[in-house]
């Protein structure tokens, strides 16, 4: 059982209560409906606000202006993300998935359209507002881990817990990803998988509302990648954190609640999985 290996407690009520207390709101599981939603029915507007909806993306376009060339990265995207969901964004390179993730994570702002996180209008925030948003609500996991090489595993986590309002204990975060033993190692002394787990611990330590993962397994071999996905699945199920993973690896889609496919800057398909596969079942 991976949970035991990583020192993750089985989904006991203790952990659940802890998670609820961290986020300051109760998380209700939604029934999963196995259906494919056509683009036209993904409307937003009058039906909002739904208390479960964390992100609300309306008519978002992003155009990059590089010299005389303008590249449309996103075209009128409509989307909502709900608390506790595990969402996978699938698409080839250039499909706009990274741009969408950047906008959701407050790294970038759309050229037009609205992005709302709860009651914050991200599309209207300035740089300082976005920084505050990232600091308070978002956990990032990157393809290349991006750990600070001069800090140990534990220090990489405390880096975040120090500036967060109500973080979990840094050692607890490392325990959740099963790296208690390696907490005093520097990134250069850790394997890729271990580094990525430190990155995940760093991302969850602030108890974020959303965990955004950009190709989290992209730099890892198959078994290590599965270990990392397992950690993400555990975080999602035990802490009820909204997890959004972008990848071009369609195999990962099986473990999601919802799969959103992008192509050429547009959402082309949204699939609701009837059953979430466990990471062990995945093959690529």
């Amino acid at each position: 059982m991976l949970g035991a290996v990583y020192g993750l407690a089985p989904s006991s009520s203790r952990e659940h209560d802890g998670a609820s207390a961290w986020f300051g709101c109760s998380v209700t599981a939604r029934p999963y409906r196995p259906m494919v939603t056509p683009m036209s029915s993904l409307s937003v507007g009058a039906t909002f606000p739904d208390s479960d909806v964390v992100f609300q993306v309306h008519a978002v376009s992003k155009i990059y202006q590089t010299g005389e060339l303008s590249v449309v990265a996103l075209r009128s995207v409509e989307l909502e993300l709900r608390a506790g969901e595990f969402v996978v964004f699938l698409g080839p390179s250039g499909s706009g998935k990274s741009t969408l993730l950047n906008i959701l994570g407050g790294l970038d702002t759309p050229t037009s359209g609205d992005v709302r996180f709860r009651d914050h209008w991200l599309s209207r925030a300035d740089d300082a507002g976005l920084t505050r948003f990232r600091r308070e609500h978002v956990g990032f996991v990157f393809q290349f881990y991006n750990l600070i090489p001069s800090l140990t595993a534990l220090e990489n986590v405390t880096l975040v817990t120090e500036i967060a309002d109500d973080p979990m204990d840094a050692q607890e975060a490392l325990r959740l990803v099963g790296l208690t033993e390696r907490e005093n190692h520097f990134p250069s002394q850790l394997s890729g998988g271990e580094q990525q787990r430190v990155a995940i611990a760093r991302a969850i330590a602030k108890k974020p509302d959303i965990l955004l993962c950009d190709e989290p397994t992209g730099a890892l071999d198959f078994p290590t990648g599965k270990l990392v996905l397992d950690v993400l699945a555990q975080i999602n199920s035990e802490l009820h954190t909204l997890v959004a993973v972008i990848t071009h690896n369609s195999a990962i889609a099986a473990m999601a609640d919802r799969v959103i496919r992008l192509r050429s800057g547009e959402i082309v398909e949204v699939t609701q999985n009837a059953r979430k596969a466990s990471p062990e079942e995945l093959v690529w």
Partner: protein, 787 residues
């Protein structure tokens, strides 16, 4: 233009901030070399030309009085080329517009211009006419300070009679390029001391010196042994009250200029060396980083078949381009600065022409040292670029390896991760941190030395004007007077306290060493002139025996308890053996002191005095000055406040240029180092800093992390800079000491504070420059690339 050259210019443009910082440091080095070296050569050349053209004498001697025919005996001495006899006398002057009396040095000159030695360079007006009896030529420094022109008139007390003098010309003399009165003064007081030349005939009759002279200037034939001639002259003139012949090295003006020129030579070497060393260091650090970031490009270029040497040459060219920019800028600044310097020199040193000339050889030398600097700085990067195997270079550089180091062994849990990042980055590259700290401490050192030298100067003057010379004015009588004169001087209006002194020219001798000086006789309980050592302790004058300044005791090789031979060089010229009662560590001059009664006994005279020191009521000062100007017995009046003012003015004038320049220089080093250091860190750690931004750190916070490293280095460098500054001050004050003065080693806390403030401001300025780069950092694109 080849493709590599095109890459060169584009890279250079991308690195323009860093390149500009390096070029500025090089420019400072080149500017200081070009200006100081050229100034050194200009001074040397101007001095040599002036001396040759206006026949500056080789040997000088002052004596009491000798008949004209004695000159013929001097002329017979082998090796003597030319002899000029003169009458020289200091007189009291009444200068229009000047309240206090001034001192004029009257010197007789031949009736026809251009004859004799130490001939005049006529700046304005005309030479003396054969008929005009009261015509004089005034020295330019004195005339300018008092706004005198040909046609102006002065009053002088000559032989107890007021005499009107009319200026017909303004001139310069190689004997008074640095125009000071001598006798312990270090800075010119052009308002109150001036040289006036008068026709020999007029002056001789005015001073009752018909058919006689009291000063000789001698020029020598090439290859003559100067010392032989000096000792022969001393023998020949022994019975005419000689004060002893001396060569150029003891001639006041020559000595000051020569000291200045040799100091110039040292600064023209030391200052540029510091700058170019820092510049080489900056090039090295920046280019090593450049090669790291361009690994892939280098690999591609090599893979295409470019030979290694061409790749190496590419970085050499890069470095040279930056150096050339610095060189051109430096030559321009140096040229401008040299002109400023020359005009400052022209205020103190009066040459007919002091042109600042920037010769081609200087420019070539500057070019050569710039070239060497550029190559030395680039060599590390070139070796690394040449040594990169193409296949390996294609792969990104291995990630930074951090291992537990000192910080982790100390086990300080309270440090924040940001502080840990800063310390570990420093620990990982200790040599780079040391190099940065070295450059910054150089900049601190430059400032501490500059401010410290002024502290010494101020302490020296404070001791002299506050502790030693406590009088308001010193009145020197034109000949020795009886004690009655003392009483009369004390009765003058406004005199609160008066203390007589007796000054006697002597030759002191101990074993085979001897020295000409004068003994100052002071009253036992005197208050107005105290004998004070360098630390401010006062020594009370013993009733018997002689007290020597340590410098003089050192020259003679005596210690307290020894007995020295004292040969008096005036009056009946008695010779006695006197015990050295004490030595005193004085800052100024080579003085000898005795109790005035003991000195009177030595002179076999009864209560004679040479003058008086006075404490004066400020209200009645003007009245007193008027009376003193009219007293025939008064040869000279020196006013302490005027000397202090003139000193302050001189210091301020030269300070503005040198302090201003060195502040700019030190700031350029500090900014160049801190800015480049931060830019290199920014480039190496852009990914790390972008990650922090994404994690929610604000720009401010990551700027602080980035600059924290530089701040730490700067703070660590400060104490070393302070210490190095103190040590260099100690070395300089030791080497700058001459027989005339000794600079005390004083560095005031304020000097350290100023050095700190300036370097701190430079650091803040660099921080602001770098923070703009942080603001412009594209955090998303940084993350796209792999390690």
């Amino acid at each position: 233009m080849g493709t590599l050259e095109r890459k060169l210019f584009r890279d250079l443009f991308k690195m323009r901030g860093q390149a500009a910082a390096i070029a500025l440091v090089i420019a400072c080095g080149v500017a200081s070399f070009v200006s100081m070296r050229a100034m050194y050569l200009s001074l040397l050349r101007s001095q040599a030309d002036y001396y040759a053209q206006y026949r500056f004498a080789d040997i000088f001697v002052e004596l009491k009085r000798a008949p004209d025919w004695v000159a013929e005996r001097i002329r017979q001495i082998p090796g003597v080329a030319q002899v000029e006899t003169r009458v020289v006398m200091d007189v009291t002057l009444d200068v229009p517009g000047l309240q206090e009396p001034a001192v004029g040095r009257m010197i007789s000159i031949p009736a026809r211009q251009g004859q004799g030695l130490n001939t005049l360079f006529l700046r304005r007006g005309r030479y003396l006419s054969p008929t005009g009896r009261n015509e004089i030529i005034a020295s330019e420094a004195f005339a300018n300070a008092n706004k005198l022109e040909p046609g102006s008139e002065l009053q002088a007390v000559i032989q107890g009679r007021w005499q009107k003098l009319r200026i017909v010309g303004i001139a310069l003399s190689p004997e008074y390029i640095y125009e000071i009165r001598g006798g312990g003064s270090l800075f010119p007081d052009n308002k109150r001391f001036g040289v006036l030349w008068m026709s020999a005939e007029t002056l001789e009759s005015a001073l009752n010196m018909k058919g006689a002279f009291n000063s000789i200037a001698v020029s020598l034939l090439p290859g003559t042994n100067k010392l032989d001639v000096i000792s022969t002259m001393d023998r020949e003139l022994d019975s005419y009250g000689t004060l002893g012949a001396y060569g150029r090295s003891d001639q006041v003006s020559h000595r000051f200029i020569s000291d200045e020129i040799s100091q110039n030579r040292i600064t023209a070497t030391v200052i540029p060396t510091i700058f170019l060393a820092v510049a080489a260091l900056l090039v090295h650090l920046s280019f090593m980083r450049l090669v790291s970031t361009q690994r892939a490009e280098i690999a591609v270029i090599k893979a295409f078949g470019y030979p290694d040497w061409l790749v190496g040459l590419h970085y050499v060219e890069f470095s040279l381009l930056v150096a050339i920019a610095g060189y051109v800028l430096g030559c321009g600044i140096g040229w401008y600065f040299g002109i400023k310097l020359a005009s400052l020199y022209a205020e103190f040193y009066r040459f007919p022409v002091l042109v600042y000339r920037l010769d081609l050889p200087i420019l070539l030398w500057a070019g050569l040292i710039t070239f060497v600097t550029a190559i030395a700085g680039a060599i590390g990067a070139v070796v690394r670029a040449v040594g990169l195997p193409p296949a390996e270079a294609m792969r990104p550089e291995a990630p930074a390896r951090f291992r537990p180091m000192i910080l982790d062994k100390l086990n300080l849990p309270s440090l924040s991760p940001a502080v840990r990042m800063i310390i570990r980055n420093l620990e990982r590259r200790p040599l780079r941190a040391l190099a940065s700290a070295f450059a910054i401490s150089c900049s601190v050192m430059i400032l501490v030395v500059e401010f410290g030298l002024f502290d010494s100067l101020h302490r020296m003057m404070e001791v002299q004007f506050h502790d030693v010379q406590r009088e308001d004015i010193a009145v020197t009588l034109n000949e020795v007077h009886s004690a009655q004169a003392e009483f009369e001087l004390a009765q003058l209006p406004g005199v609160i306290r008066s203390e007589a002194f007796r000054a006697v020219p002597v030759r002191l001798q101990f074993q085979n060493r001897s020295r000409k000086t004068s003994i100052l006789g002071l009253p036992e309980q005197g208050e107005l002139h105290r004998i004070v050592d360098g630390t401010g302790n006062t020594l009370s004058l013993p009733p018997e025996g002689i007290v020597l300044s340590s410098t003089l005791a050192g020259i003679l090789g005596v210690v307290p308890g020894d007995s020295i031979n004292v040969e008096v060089l005036e009056g009946r010229r008695p010779a006695r053996t006197i015990a050295v009662a004490a030595t005193v560590d004085e800052l100024l001059g080579t003085n000898a002191y005795m109790n005035i009664h003991a000195l009177n006994r030595l002179m076999q005279e009864d209560g004679s005095i040479s003058g008086s020191l006075m404490q004066v009521d400020g209200e009645k000062q003007q009245e007193l000055y008027q009376r003193l100007k009219q007293l025939p017995a008064v040869a000279a009046v020196s006013i302490k406040a005027a000397a202090v003012d003139s000193f302050r003015e001189t210091i301020n004038r030269s300070m503005t240029l040198s302090i201003g320049t060195l502040i700019v220089f030190a700031s350029v080093i500090a900014i160049g180092m801190i800015y480049n250091g931060a830019r290199i860190s920014l480039s190496e750690r852009s990914r790390e800093l972008a990650t922090l931004r994404i994690l929610g750190f604000t720009r401010r916070e990551i700027t602080l992390i980035l600059l924290g490293e530089q701040a730490f280095i700067t703070l660590a460098a400060l104490p070393f800079g302070f210490a190095a500054g103190y040590v260099v001050c100690a070395i300089l004050t030791f080497h700058l000491q001459t027989e005339l003065y000794r600079m005390p080693l004083v560095v005031q806390p304020a000097s350290y504070a100023w050095a700190f403030v300036i370097v701190f401001l430079a650091a803040v300025a660099s921080g602001i420059l770098v923070s703009r780069r942080v603001a412009g950092m594209d955090i998303v694109s940084v993350l796209k690339a792999g390690e």
